[in-house]
Symmetry: C2
Subunit: 439 residues, 2 copies
């Protein structure tokens, strides 16, 4: 065992592996070598067995797997707070679409994604599922910052700044897939936007490509009641099923409108659900029946959605919303325990993305996507139960240290790699450009 910066010991006060669910290992260490977790054991044993390794002393911290955000549009972070408290169509037509048609470019997307990465690292997210125009710019930002991400190429049947028609969206998506399919921490996927914005032919093409190459499909589905009113009378979920898209590669997002037969269909076909509680509340979309889905065996993970409709990427706040909202809606205070909420924010996200063999929990052999939460501040005291504290009391600002693939990207709340001055300048520039369009 040689001393190198990718091999080290983390001494935690509380080690929370997430698998098995609810476990808390007190005064335990995580041993990391060449980006992998190679041991989990008591402090003394780690020091004895790996005497040459440097020790990260996090003895007032809870250490757990990095959070996995299963739905976002990172570049839209530049539009955070730009237009709130609007009805959906007013918001889209008068605020979001004019910006998207004027400003959205490779540079806008790269810089916006960088801003999202800064926020995600600072709040303990180590992996995200993104879909936005100019996916090459999205992927470049994640690659440059060593951030783990599924990057899905959007498909819509109308022209965008990125592609002229549905066919071009799909062909560009396939080129992107070929380019990134071997990348170690960027996972290409395809994101037909929604049933109302993609044609039957588009879905058929996507189903064909997905099956041929095992490409994940990321889809907004049954987000609102309005979406159920189709010309044919057929519910959108049934249409997606009929196109042969129901399998474990399908990641459905929002799902606020579901009947029992549909839940059964999801479970039977191992379709995943990305639940975005704050976005659903803020846009008044309805409530995803998370409790029912879980009881029927559907894998439910959590996403923040874009910062234009949330307005932050704080996954600890989001899993808190997920458990509180489920208790409130079901009128059952035992619905979704703190430990279950933590699973939804980590291992369930890894399952949704199909990377649960690599990340999502602290287990020997997995990649070292690890975060530490400083439990010493008064708002997290006293610590009767660290899992309760993390889920119900903490937020992203309590995350002190973050490693992705064994590399430390946040150290004592400072970003270690990102050029924060340059990013601040770019964000200011985009703020001014956006202001000029809106006036």
């Amino acid at each position: 065992m040689h001393a190198n910066k990718n091999s080290f010991i983390i001494d935690a006060k509380w080690l929370i592996p997430v698998v098995p669910e609810g476990t808390v290992l007190e005064d335990s260490s995580l041993v990391i070598s060449n980006n992998l977790i190679i041991d989990i054991c008591p402090h003394q044993q780690a020091h004895d067995n790996y005497p040459h390794l440097a020790i990260e002393d996090l003895t007032q911290h809870a250490v757990m797997p990095g959070l996995i955000n299963t739905h976002g549009h990172a570049a839209m972070t530049l539009l955070r707070g730009y237009a709130d408290d609007k009805a959906l169509m007013e918001w889209l037509e008068n605020y979001i679409w004019p910006i998207e048609s004027t400003l959205v470019s490779y540079d806008f997307v790269y810089d916006g994604t960088l801003l999202a990465i800064a926020e995600m690292i600072s709040s303990g997210t180590t992996c995200t599922a993104d879909s936005y125009f100019f996916p090459d710019a999205v992927a470049a930002a994640f690659h440059d910052q060593k951030f783990r991400a599924q990057v899905a190429c959007p498909v819509v049947q109308f022209p965008t700044n990125w592609a002229n028609d549905e066919e071009e969206h799909i062909s560009k998506a396939m080129l992107f897939y070929e380019r990134y399919k071997q990348h170690p921490h960027i996972y290409p996927a395809i994101a037909p936007h929604a049933p109302y914005s993609v044609s039957d032919r588009g879905f058929e093409e996507i189903a064909k490509h997905s099956k041929a190459h095992n490409i994940p499909v990321h889809l907004h589905l049954h987000e609102t009641v309005g979406e159920l009113q189709t010309e044919t009378g057929q519910r959108p979920l049934q249409r997606i099923y009929d196109h042969g898209l129901f399998n474990s590669l399908l990641q459905t997002v929002h799902m606020t409108q579901l009947n029992d037969a549909e839940i059964q269909l999801l479970a039977a076909n191992q379709v995943h659900v990305a639940h975005c509680p704050d976005s659903n509340l803020k846009l008044a979309s309805g409530f995803c029946p998370v409790d029912k889905l879980r009881h029927k065996g559907v894998n439910v993970a959590v996403g923040t959605d874009g910062a234009a409709s949330n307005n932050n990427l704080d996954m600890l706040a989001e899993i808190r919303s997920a458990t509180l909202l489920s208790k409130g809606v079901t009128l059952d205070p035992t619905s979704i325990s703190a430990a279950q909420a933590l699973s939804m924010g980590t291992i369930n996200g890894a399952k949704l993305l199909g990377i649960e063999d690599q990340v999502g929990s602290l287990e020997i052999g997995k990649q070292a996507d690890v975060i530490a939460i400083d439990m010493s501040s008064f708002e997290l005291q006293p610590v009767h139960n660290p899992i309760s504290q993390i889920v119900y009391s903490a937020n992203g600002n309590h995350v002190s240290d973050v490693w992705i693939n064994g590399q430390q990207l946040l150290k004592h709340r400072k970003l270690t790699q990102l050029d924060t001055t340059a990013l601040t300048d770019k964000v200011n520039m985009w703020r001014q450009s956006i202001r000029q369009i809106s006036t």
Copy 2:
């Protein structure tokens, strides 16, 4: 104008007075002299007109009135995370009551209140409404830390560690009232716990005292559906009305179960509502119809409830929950704008407590209860709209500086007055005592 530490200028990037609602004054200053706000004007004008005053340079900050938490049980912060995800009666009978009957004492309450104060100051709350046993200990902690608070004496018809029966609770409450009625920043009140735990005779006595001395009455009311099932069949709200308690001194808490006639009755009698969205969600109590109440002219403020059922005292997170939940439940994304949520967390709270002539907004002549929010971190960037950013993106950890009555209690996120080492030791001691009881 003499230079002294109670007279100074705060230069803000964005000054948000809250009254008038939605106003943002860019590059403006707040001039404070002898604990009062004496001027609000552009930076240069403040520097010219008050040349001898020291300047607090908060030019990447939003400066606004301190947050007002209208419902809490500060001492219960020691029980944060002690028992979550339980059904209400299991939670009370097996967890909360055994602790309360064994451990709750003057010292427990003093130390627990101190912990809550540390958290409240650190997250921008400058005034709270508290009700718990040993109100003398509660008041002593608030007095010692120069914190503004309504301290309500609890009344229940069964024996507690503090008093033997309902009559003694009331007589002790009246003694407390006499002791504190002249205090400059502690406002005595009386808190009949709930309709199901106070007798008709108790309510009559309380109504009599309240009327005779203008004492505010703080009451948990219609928190759950179960509470509506009374022996007489009469709804509890009607019983409270019949006892003559409906007037502007009445602060009703929770109010998840309300019909239109009841909302009309509240409005007609200027009864206030303290809305606790996170507690209502976590305990699965139901949804307070905030939107309807506001439209009918009822003053609705926001409270966190105790940390045993929330589990934090972060008022920025709470007003965010208030607006998101209202949008979600009414299926209307325009319900409760960011500016309205900010009013609910400040001036509406001051109205509920009857101190809106002193605090709740930044206006000339009011006392200087002021907070600053550092808007420079990436998760609050870019700032298109500072009010949106504060309500939808920020949390208590973004609060950098806090003044109560012109005295700085938080400076660059450090508590200036509280002995944090001693508090940490005491919290640890109580944690161990609680653990001993529960094992």
